[in-house]
């Protein structure tokens, strides 16, 4: 009974500040759109500039291979090496293809025909993927020339190799399928921890918390009553971003919906739990906002594996990532969405989340009790 009374009182407080409530619901969706679209490492339409000294049919044939692929877009014809350097320096082109004057002569005489490829490597991953594309296209062209030459000499069935590549979990290899399931974890850290923390710290600042201290309400009940409304809001927020992620961004949900909702519920409790914990360790609202943004949201963005893979971090930093619950939920979310695996794969992370929540709440209750005594 006390619990419902407390929760009702909190709801009244929340309703009095509709702007914050609206922000808490709308901003995560806005962020989901911004980051879902904006954070992409897909490499398409690479800007290609060409410096063709040879100007032969053979060189045109090679260049045609590049322009007919969807990876490259020819943006400029260059006339001198100086222009090539300028195109890269100004960022007008990402790749410059230089065909030397002796290209067709070399090909005809059977000598290796070299071409030069200049790649802007400032963003290393893109540089790498682009050079791989170039290699693949050139080697395919080279093969077809060799086969043609062999056929002309009467060799009917030269050896051939075929590669069948299958991409699991994310067949179109789109960044959005990788980013969005992780975004759910990060977005939920933006508001619930802070709102919860503020609701308690506000009472501390105003001094109304003294009334709670002298009342017969037990600390655990008080905390539960405080967080219940925020947990409901946070879960609603979670449902909203999950809905947008699956319906708008079309991220495939291959695993069980029940498992996903169950894991989300536990994660939501962790996020409000962080808020409660922050509130017991801070005295002012500013400190509470600062702690929940700087100490939890920022590092979670960088170290949860939602964007930068954890496996490539130095070992010490990998250990550090375990401090952030977003890491566990990112794993669970990707497992359920993309891999479609069951409880036997995700139970470890779910258990860790549950333990995390339990520890946060008991620590908060203990600290709170100490102040009452």
């Amino acid at each position: 009974m006390i619990l419902t009374a407390l929760a009702r009182k909190e709801l009244v407080e929340i309703r009095r500040d509709p702007v914050t409530l609206a922000l808490a619901v709308v901003l995560p969706v806005v962020m989901l759109f911004l980051f879902g679209y904006g954070i992409s490492l897909d490499v398409e339409d690479v800007r290609l500039a060409v410096l063709d000294h040879d100007r032969s049919q053979a060189s045109a044939e090679l260049l045609e291979r590049f322009t007919s692929s969807t990876y490259f877009r020819r943006v400029a014809e260059l006339r001198s090496p100086g222009e090539a350097a300028e195109a890269l320096d100004r960022g007008r082109a990402t790749v410059v293809l230089v065909v030397p004057p002796e290209y067709s002569r070399n090909l005809a005489s059977g000598r290796p025909a070299r071409i030069q490829v200049l790649v802007d490597g400032s963003f290393s991953v893109i540089g790498l993927i682009v050079s791989n594309y170039v290699n693949a296209i050139v080697s395919e062209h080279s093969m077809s020339l060799a086969r043609r030459a062999l056929a002309a000499r009467g060799v009917v069935s030269p050896p051939e190799m075929r590669v069948e590549t299958r991409v699991w979990y994310n067949a179109p290899m789109k960044t959005v399928n990788y980013i969005v399931p992780g975004l759910f974890a990060v977005l939920l850290l933006a508001f619930p921890p802070m709102l919860t923390a503020l609701s308690i710290v506000r009472e501390k600042e105003r001094g109304t918390i003294e009334q709670v201290y002298v009342s017969p309400i037990r600390p655990a009940v008080y905390i539960l009553g405080k967080i219940l409304p925020y947990a409901v809001i946070a879960f609603g927020e979670m449902l909203l971003v999950l809905a947008v992620g699956t319906l708008w961004f079309q991220v495939p949900l291959r695993g069980s919906v029940v498992l996903l909702l169950g894991a989300s519920l536990i994660y939501v409790l962790v996020t409000v739990g962080i808020g409660v914990f922050v509130s017991t360790t801070t005295r002012t609202q500013v400190a509470a906002v600062f702690l929940s943004l700087v100490a939890t949201l920022m590092p979670s963005v960088l170290f949860s594996g939602f964007l930068f893979p954890i496996a490539t971090m130095p070992y010490v930093m990998q250990l550090y990532t375990y401090a952030f619950p977003a890491r566990y939920f990112t794993d669970v979310s990707r497992d359920l969405f993309l891999k479609g695996v069951g409880l036997e794969y995700i139970w470890g992370n779910v258990l860790l989340l549950a333990v995390y929540a339990a520890v946060l709440f008991s620590a908060a209750s203990l600290l709170f009790r100490k102040k009452v005594a």
Partner: protein, 378 residues
């Protein structure tokens, strides 16, 4: 003049007294740069490969050996059944699997297509894309060798046409992400610190009520603003020095027009501080200021090319990013510090930064000069 000097001295003292803020600024410009540069990377190396060699011939062994010979693939895990591959991929223990069917060598010898199968864990699209590229390069070379071998066996030897690409990576020959990351962290620091310190110091002065006292002094409003802006501005510019040294420690060449970089830093910082002033105008409390600050900084940071390249974003967002001063600052920083270029290549970015950063700084100034943000919303 004396009046202004006194105001400036007062602001420096006040700023210096808030050790937390000073420490935070220094942290963001130094420790943060180190931590993020060391830890965060998109580079794909040492991939673990499951190898299911059903052929077990000399030829298949030669192909497998190609995979162990590069840096890109680290451990090779031999497997015996398809079921094992499923398990390893699901558990995330391998990144890709190479399957060589039993008739691989026989087909290659007879001229029938010799097929191999590659299974990629596409969970992380970026890793998968890079892995697919490596595999294609290795297999492409192998196929060409097979062809040359077959030709030689039939007495056609040296004169098989071949195109050899010589790939030169500019600006970052080792293709390491840390150079980019170090530069990006410096750029982000100027954004974060500029916005947060300005907004926080203005709002706090208002909250404690001391802003009224400032307002009744003979100081003109522009003098107050100048005095207020100088301390955070100075500490940011000074912090750039250790920041740059750290970057160079990570191998950033910094061979371009450094004076252009410094100028761009000044402009970008002024722009960020303008944003901070605006936030201070909206916010009723310090807590709101911090909150709004973060939700302005995050999108600006992610959508200005500091984390993922602008080229990869959808067209609409690429156009939107043109209004972000951080975008131009990032391009100038990359140009001068990483690419080693100068004024002739970067003047369009400088123009953009001057226009937008200047407009923001001016808008902030105008807002303060009207007194709106200085005294409060009322």
């Amino acid at each position: 003049m004396q009046r202004l000097a006194a105001a400036i001295r007062k602001e420096f003292l006040q700023f210096w007294r808030d050790r937390m803020l000073v420490a935070l600024v220094v942290f963001i410009y130094t420790a943060d740069v180190v931590i993020c540069t060391v830890a965060l990377t998109f580079d794909v190396k040492n991939l673990t490969v499951a190898v299911f060699d059903q052929d077990r011939t000399q030829l298949s062994a030669r192909l497998v050996e190609r995979f162990s010979a590069t840096d890109y693939f680290g451990r090779l895990v031999p497997v015996e059944r398809f079921g094992e591959i499923d398990l390893l991929l699901d558990r995330g223990e391998v990144d890709l699997a190479l399957v060589i069917p039993p008739d691989f060598a026989r087909h290659a010898a007879s001229g029938a297509p010799a097929e191999v199968q590659v299974l990629l864990a596409g969970l992380n699209s970026n890793t998968a894309n890079a892995a697919r590229g490596y595999v294609n390069v290795i297999l492409g070379r192998f196929a060409h060798e097979l062809l040359a071998q077959a030709a030689a066996a039939r007495g056609i030897s040296t004169d098989l046409p071949e195109v050899v690409p010589e790939i030169r990576i500019w600006y970052n020959p080792q293709l390491e992400f840390k150079h980019f990351m170090a530069v990006s962290m410096i750029v982000v620091a100027s954004l974060t610190v500029g916005v947060i310190t300005t907004a926080a110091s203005l709002v706090r002065e208002r909250e404690t009520g001391t802003i009224e006292q400032l307002a009744v002094t003979p100081l003109r409003v522009d003098e107050i603003i100048l005095a207020k802006a100088l301390p955070p501005f100075a500490i940011c510019m000074i912090s750039l020095v250790p920041s740059l040294l750290i970057g160079m420690g990570f191998g950033v060449p910094a061979q371009g027009a450094l004076e252009l970089f410094v100028l761009a830093s000044v402009l970008s910082l002024a722009g960020s501080m303008g944003i901070g002033v605006f936030i201070a105008g909206f916010a009723e409390s310090l807590q709101q200021a911090l909150l709004i600050g973060f939700f302005v900084i995050f999108p600006l940071m992610f959508l200005s090319g500091t984390t993922v390249p602008i080229d990869s974003m959808p067209r609409v967002m690429q156009v939107l990013s043109l209004v972000s001063p951080t975008r131009y600052y990032m391009e100038i920083a990359l140009g001068t510090l990483l690419k080693g270029v100068g004024w002739s290549a970067l003047w369009p970015q400088l123009l953009g930064l001057t226009a937008i950063g200047g407009a923001m700084a001016f808008a902030g100034w105008a807002r303060l000069a009207r007194g709106g943000a200085l005294i409060g919303r009322a």
